[in-house]
């Protein structure tokens, strides 16, 4: 059996399309996962909070969370009050109402004035949201034993009510009380649940694992059927039954390995970024698992979750293997599994838990795949009058499904005589009409090399990444934005007048404070109260000082203008807007371009194409033009989306203003405008993309092997950026990162940037030269 298993592994290793699908889906799911983590609250907030909790004894953690929550809720209200007080007369009633609703707010006023910087996230609003979530979790943990007690009391009350007197109802009530009775001695540790919960509840992981397992099962069976080897294998002594068993084992092993790697990777990522907490704590220490009646620690729970996932996916794999064995057509097997899923999704979503068809809701693949839900839900279901927990029902069905599915597979394999496939003779009546070399090369790239699919996938990922993102601006930022929106453009007399008026306003506030301090008739308490009210109005002064600083700079440098700098600084200087898109772009380019040249070598079409008049330079020129277009599309997708997003939030105005209008860009030559910066940024990014692409093409003609090219390109292009993305900063200067973040390096280290540009151009020229030499290489 072992040699058969080994050969099944070897066959899978050789299925390039499967390997590519695997890499692509794993990368996509990891990307979506990392994006979804930071969409609302950054991971660093959880890490900081987790570290703080660890420094406290268990019994003080709840109190600490409560205090932090109250403090930041008050800060939020004070923030609101500050904005309302910019127009105090108009908003007087709202201010009063807010103060009446939140009498404790005054206690935090002094603290707010002295320091109201966000502690966990980048904004006060996020901090308040985050602490609200944490407080909810901790409250649930705090009240856990009360919850157990309530269940016991409820059980006693219900058993006395006449409508629950039936034997079945009595049984269920007693059972619930008994299940939770044993949990009264569970130790509850106050810690965050988010990292672990996210690892197992992220739906895209399940979706991608399902696609991977279906593809795996498809390839395992269809490999032999496509080649007509299935009939041949059956004639051999071992092929009669052992082959299909070996295929089961390989499917199970590969599923287990992939599943384990995916979840281990995600757990590792979360552990690295925010910590997983004490793994020996009870499962009930995760607030959302208070309903779980199982006595186990978090470590055991992780094992159970992964184990369940493997079993469910294996069941799905076996269903697909059955379909692939039974059906005579490749496409039909996919259509059948799709129909199966549509029915399952429909049943899961549409059937009400109390309807007569409720069993179809729970004995359902979608329900099975949501392992985290059925482990944290305490529910008894009557299966033909027999009360069973959801958890036990699922285990039973999955194991029974695996056994019956395997037996059915073996029976089909043994009994079926003809395994030949009926080709799908789809006649493409409206076959794409291609009539030029250019259109053929374009068709090969988009359709055959699946670049079209990659473009659609990229657009979806970008949409998914940005449509949830919201940018919060604190009161100071909002005031500053409103100032700058009024002032933007060249300095005029009106603007000078407005600045002077504003200065007078703040000066008068200071004079008022001075007067209050000098007033001997006021009590110190009254003085404090009056001063605090004025101080709230003075919050805008810090921001106004920035405006004044710009004003003074513009007076000295007439070519400068008032510019709202935040969108420019975000786009050109913040790595959060450039690193992830660059990483995505590199993955996109590697996967789009690794086949551009190799497709002919792989298919051996080069043997006929190269001895044609247009099959040499012309075809290579077209391939390079195609690469340039793909780079353009990739850059538009990955850099265009953040640009559009930032424009919609802040607005890129004053494109014609000199770069020295923005304080951080003052070291750049004043002749450059902000519009020029976009051009320079785009051009340098294009140069590095082109240089890397040329290098990739050179690897292609050297290696003449698709998977080698893909592997080398991923190592060279993606891994350095991936490491930088994960804060391993030592790679920044030695990789091509400076060119992807060129404006920042223009300011901080222009020499390094110039050297990199020179090297890139040289690499591009040499690589292209080599490509032209090697592509027609005569041995």
């Amino acid at each position: 059996m072992m040699p058969l298993i080994k050969y099944e592994f070897i066959k899978m290793r050789g299925r390039k399309s499967f390997i590519v699908i695997l890499i692509l889906l794993l990368l996509s799911q990891f990307f979506l996962f990392s994006v979804s983590l930071n969409q609302k609250i950054p991971l660093s907030a959880y890490q900081k909070f987790h570290q703080t909790l660890l420094s406290l004894p268990n019994e003080k953690r709840y109190e600490f969370t409560k205090k932090e929550y109250e403090k930041y809720q008050s800060f939020m209200i004070l923030e609101q009050l500050t904005q309302l007080r910019q127009n105090e007369q108009k908003n007087a009633s709202i201010i009063e109402e807010l103060l009446q609703e939140n009498p404790n707010v005054e206690n935090y006023q002094q603290e707010y004035i002295s320091n109201h910087q966000p502690q966990y996230t980048s904004s006060l609003e996020q901090d308040a949201q985050f602490l609200e979530m944490m407080f909810d979790e901790m409250t649930q943990l705090k009240t856990y034993f009360q919850y157990i007690k309530d269940i016991q009391q409820q059980a006693q009350q219900l058993s006395g009510i006449s409508i629950f007197q039936s034997h079945q109802n009595q049984n269920e009530i007693e059972r619930s009380a008994k299940d939770f009775q044993k949990l009264t001695h569970v130790e509850v540790t106050y810690d965050i649940q988010y990292p672990l919960e996210m690892v197992f509840s992220f739906d895209f992981t399940s979706l991608f694992l399902v696609i991977i397992v279906l593809s795996l099962s498809y390839y395992l069976i269809m490999e032999e059927r496509e080649n007509g080897l299935m009939n041949l294998l059956k004639l051999s002594q071992n092929g009669y039954m052992k082959v299909i068993i070996a295929k089961f084992i390989v499917m199970f092993l590969i599923t287990s390995i992939i599943c384990f790697l995916v979840y281990a990777g995600k757990l590792g990522y979360m552990a690295w970024n925010c910590g997983l907490g004490d793994l020996s704590r009870s499962i009930q220490s995760m607030a959302h698992y208070r309903q779980c009646p199982l006595q186990m620690n978090v470590k055991q729970w992780i094992g159970l979750m992964i184990g369940f996932k493997i079993l469910v996916l294996s069941l799905l794999g076996i269903i697909m293997m059955n379909l692939c064995l039974v059906l005579k057509n490749r496409i039909l097997s996919w259509i059948s599994i799709l129909v199966f899923f549509v029915v399952e999704v429909f049943s899961y979503l549409m059937i009400h838990p109390l309807s007569s068809l409720y069993l179809l809701k729970y004995i359902n693949m979608i329900s099975f795949l949501q392992t985290d839900i059925y482990l944290k839900t305490y529910r008894y279901i009557s299966v033909f009058g027999l009360p069973t927990t959801l958890y036990h029902l699922h285990i039973f069905i999955i194991i029974a499904g695996l056994i019956f599915g395997s037996i059915s597979c073996i029976c089909i394999y043994v009994c079926k005589r003809d395994f030949s496939l009926r080709n799908a003779h789809f006649v493409f009546k409206h076959c794409l009409h291609l009539s030029s070399l250019c259109s053929f090369e374009f068709y090969k790239m988009i359709k055959i090399q699946k670049v079209g699919f990659l473009i659609i996938l990229s657009l979806f990922l970008q949409y998914y990444q940005y449509h949830h993102v919201s940018v919060y601006m604190d009161s100071e930022s909002s005031i500053y934005q409103s100032y700058m929106q009024y002032l933007q453009g060249p300095l005029t007399d009106d603007k000078i007048k407005w600045i002077e008026q504003q200065q007078d306003y703040f000066d008068s506030l200071h004079q008022q404070i001075e007067k209050i301090e000098n007033n001997i008739n006021l009590t110190s308490q009254k003085k404090q109260s009056l001063k605090e009210n004025i101080s709230m109005k003075l919050i805008g002064e810090n921001v106004f000082n920035d405006v004044k600083e710009q004003y003074e700079w513009i007076q000295k440098h007439p070519q400068a203008e008032f510019v709202y700098e935040r969108p420019y600084e975000e786009y050109f200087l913040s790595s959060s807007w450039s690193l992830a898109p660059s990483l995505m772009l590199m993955i996109f380019l590697s996967l789009s371009l690794y086949q551009v040249i190799n497709i002919e070598y792989e298919n051996h079409v080069n043997e006929v194409s190269q001895i044609t008049i247009n099959g040499n330079h012309r075809i290579l020129e077209l391939k390079i033009i195609g690469c340039v277009i793909i780079i353009g599309i990739g850059m538009s997708i990955f850099y265009g989306t953040p640009l559009i997003f930032l424009h919609s939030v802040y607005g890129f105005s004053s494109l014609g203003a000199s770069v020295i209008s923005i304080p951080t860009f003052r070291s750049l030559p004043s002749v450059l405008t902000l519009g020029h910066l976009f051009l320079i940024d785009g051009l340098i990014k294009f140069i590095i993309c082109m240089s890397l692409t040329s290098f990739l093409l050179m690897i292609s003609v050297k290696a003449r092997h698709t998977m080698t090219t893909l592997f080398i390109s991923l190592c060279l292009f993606v891994i350095p950026l991936f490491l930088i993305y994960n804060q391993i900063d030592c790679f920044k200067d030695i990789s091509f990162y400076p060119m992807l973040n060129c404006i920042q390096y223009c300011i901080e280290n222009p020499i390094l940037l110039i050297v990199q540009i020179m090297i890139s151009i040289i690499v591009m020229i040499l690589s292209l030269k080599k490509v032209f030499q090697q592509y027609f290489h005569v041995l």
Binding site: N423, A424, H425, V427, F428, K429, C431, L432, L434, S435, S436, L437, F440, Y443, K444, K447, I448, I599, N603, H604, V605, N606, E607, V608, S609, Q610, I611, T612, I613, N614, G615, N616, H617, I619, V778, L779
Partner: protein, 238 residues
């Protein structure tokens, strides 16, 4: 006219072809030899996919390298390896090859249909190449070699995978071309070429061990059929 003068080809220290002298003018020529005798290497040398280690190959009395890209206008080649774009239809593949061969756009459709009809593939052109059987793939490859009506047609094992009917059909097509084309067929199936070839060349371990018309070879080896000549030459290897 194609001439090969004292051609040698080495892969490292291994000599694949030794002292090959050949002169081909209009007509069908067969290159017979067992697997590994150097037939495909010889074909690739003529196609300029390989470079001879020593010796010269002349086309119309001029070195083939000196013709530049124009040399490719004169040749059609069907390799032994069945290399096609699996996701393209037969029509797309032939159109693509026609474009690569520099055929004008207005003539594309007629030319593709002409060669497809010659190899009896006109009914299957709208199917994807991956759905073709081995014989159909082989016919498509021969069809692409026939595109643009090349003066020199090089066919490496063209009958592989073809059924008897298709073999006869291909032979008829090739016999029609024999008047004004040079057709050079590499094969190890004697029956495919014995009544077709103007001259037959036997290649053994990279050396030409016999060449001439069928009748002359039968006389020379004192046998009744070409297969016996083959057995006499390669008998030790079988």
């Amino acid at each position: 006219m194609l001439e090969m003068k004292n051609v040698y080809k080495n892969y490292g220290t291994y000599q694949v072809l030794k002292h090959v002298d050949l002169c081909l003018d209009e007509g069908i020529y067969a290159l017979l030899g067992p697997n590994g005798s150097g037939k495909s290497t010889l074909m690739k040398l003529i196609c300029r996919q390989l470079k001879p280690t020593k010796g010269q190959i002349l086309w119309k009395h001029k070195k083939i390298d000196d013709w530049g890209q124009h040399y490719f206008l004169d040749i059609g080649y069907a390799p032994q390896q069945q290399g096609l774009y699996e996701d393209m239809t037969g029509l797309q593949f032939l159109t693509y090859m026609a474009l690569l061969k520099g055929i004008e756009k207005k003539k594309l459709k007629n030319e593709v249909n002409r060669v497809a009809q010659l190899v009896n593939m006109d009914k299957f052109l709208k199917q994807k190449c991956k759905t073709y059987s081995g014989g159909m793939k082989q016919r498509i490859l021969v069809a692409q070699a026939l595109l643009n009506n090349p003066s020199l047609l090089l066919l490496d094992e063209p009958t592989t995978g073809l059924d008897p009917k298709e073999r006869v059909s291909l032979r008829n097509v090739l016999s029609h071309l024999s008047n004004d084309h040079i057709v050079f067929i590499a094969t190890h199936v004697v029956s495919d070429v014995e009544n077709l070839a103007k001259e037959i060349v036997f290649l053994k371990d990279g050396i030409i061990v016999g060449k001439g018309k069928k009748e002359d070879l039968l006389k020379q080896f004192q046998v009744h059929c070409l297969e016996d000549v083959y057995l006499k030459i390669f008998g030790d290897d079988i």
